[in-house]
Symmetry: C2
């Protein structure tokens, strides 16, 4: 299920500390260590999936749970009403650095368009 | 299921034309009319969900299918390997203008960080 050399698998297993803001059976969320907004949280599936390219129909429920968690977290962080951006990067052109799916939640400020 | 005044429900119902690049039972994808990258596609659930704030656990499968479709589309558009960014905006701070869930897929160029 988990990849021994994956940073986010290690965080998920409690082997590396993180500032955790949400956890359930399938999902973990923690603050980004290089925040780009007053609220900047990473929401990950506990199960290792490397990139969006690897998502198949049978993974859909687990991936969608990241967004159900995002809705809970946005309320917790008091950014739900004013709004926030959810971003997932795939591979080099988008700057993906950890190859374990993670949804960035950015809020607490206005976000420009285009998104990078 | 659909909202009579929703632009994306109308596109989904075929009442308003769009440059459709992918369709299955639950998901529709079409090119953004104001593209911000060489590839800029919107992936929507056919079922009306207004914002991320409205996503509950029972919606997770349908939301995750947007990413399974994104993986197929990225391959189709030949941006899968080089990479792309997937973005979903919620409410005003993020610039959400159509209140029907839509996942922006941007690729074909390098994307800066932060994402807006």
């Amino acid at each position: 299920m988990n990849e021994p050399d994956c940073l986010f698998c290690k965080i998920s297993a409690g082997e590396i500390p993180a500032d955790i803001v949400y956890e359930d059976d399938k999902v973990l969320a923690f603050r980004d260590i290089a925040p780009k907004a007053p609220t900047h949280i990473l929401v990950i599936p506990k199960r290792h999936i490397a990139t969006i390219n690897n998502i198949r129909e049978e993974d859909a429920h687990d991936v969608g749970l990241l967004f159900a968690a995002a809705a809970v977290i946005a309320k917790q962080e008091d950014i739900a009403d004013e709004g926030y951006r959810a971003v997932m990067n795939c591979n080099e052109a988008a700057g993906q650095t950890v190859f374990h799916l993670h949804l960035h939640i950015l809020g607490g400020r206005s976000l420009d368009w285009p998104p990078g």
